[in-house]
Symmetry: C2
Subunit: 219 residues, 2 copies
């Protein structure tokens, strides 16, 4: 039974509103290991919130698929299996494909130059071997494309799905040689959006996510 006070980074000031956000971040950052039990009383002490707040937060996180809840047995961090990670990526593949298509239709010149500058930054990040930086740009690019698409529903769906397999996504970025493959696919997406070619943009986005799925399978 390990001690629970590992996060010494000042969590005590959490407003009891967004205790959900705090717990979510802790899970995503890996402070809570998969399958770790999340006892309401402990969390309430740890985050300086009431048990009701923690309880509400756990319900919310359960709906997002980040924690599992069993009647009278409490909550635990949900461990996303490889099969689930693949399923999630498959859904992301088609939904982000849709967003890429709509982005290709709607993107303004200003937004296009922003995407291209992200692409340039990715290129240099890969050239310089900055894996961490590339991973951030990766997320940024995906997010911006979805925002540009103006598809709020799709944005919500993808956001929820993305939170569930950050762990797998992250592990992927560390594979040697992976950034090079990924970079070309990302640049292709940007090009097709820049050409205002919806179908081609969708295909490019799907090709990229399909490649992610393949990488997941062989990891």
């Amino acid at each position: 039974m390990p001690a629970q006070e590992q996060t010494a980074t000042g969590p005590e000031a959490a407003a009891q509103q967004d205790v959900a956000a705090a717990i979510r971040e802790a899970i995503v950052r890996g402070d809570f290991a998969p399958n770790q039990r999340l006892v309401e009383a402990d969390l309430s002490r740890q985050f300086g919130a009431s048990r009701s707040g923690v309880r509400t937060a756990l319900f919310e996180l359960a709906n997002e698929g980040l924690v599992e809840r069993v009647q009278h047995r409490g909550a635990r961090v949900r461990a996303v299996t490889l099969e689930e990670a693949i399923e999630i990526s498959e859904v992301r593949m088609v939904v982000e494909g849709l967003c890429a298509a709509k982005a290709a239709e709607r993107a303004t010149d200003e937004e296009l130059s922003e995407l291209r500058s992200i692409g340039d930054a990715m290129r240099t990040a890969v050239a310089d071997g900055h894996v961490m930086k590339y991973s951030e740009l990766n997320q940024l690019l995906h997010r911006r494309i979805i925002e540009i698409s103006g598809q709020a529903t799709a944005a919500g769906v993808v956001e929820r799905l993305r939170a569930q397999n950050v762990r797998h996504q992250f592990r992927l970025a560390l594979l040697p040689g992976r950034p090079n493959v990924s970079l070309a696919e990302h640049l292709a997406i940007i090009d097709e959006i820049g050409a205002h070619a919806p179908d081609a943009a969708e295909r490019a986005a799907r090709r990229h996510l399909a490649s992610v799925i393949e990488a997941l399978k062989t990891a």
Copy 2:
């Protein structure tokens, strides 16, 4: 200020566990009008549950997108605009396309004959002008295809989205001439799944949902 006890169909025996399900059903069935305020105390009396249970339920429904919550101002039934209904259908289009493709890969002979029998039932329902029956078969077909695809993640996403625009979906089925168009598209999906042709099945599913979107726009 109208009286709130309109549902006389014995809601008082609701176990405080699934009060969420009861409220959800009431919203979907139209017992609660869009934008109607949902006051916790009233609901607790109406469903014979504690305010805590109602509160938890409202949080859950908010996460599903069926109700809106504002800080200190309570919950109300979320009114799905036409734009949102279109967005939802767009996401459904690509996700159900994915499911159709996977169903075409995995469907057993038994499952195929089940799908075909649903198709036959739809045909006769349209021929006999049974709109209600057709609408039910419509839902059943979509659900079964998703189940056959074995994509649990996609199933969850679609289920959540479907609950949000039942109202629009339902209004659509009542359009004159609509069932005939819809029927042909459904049969095409079944055929392509039966032919174990993933790409064609995906295209057929997308064609169908695209047609739904067009119908929504002109409604």
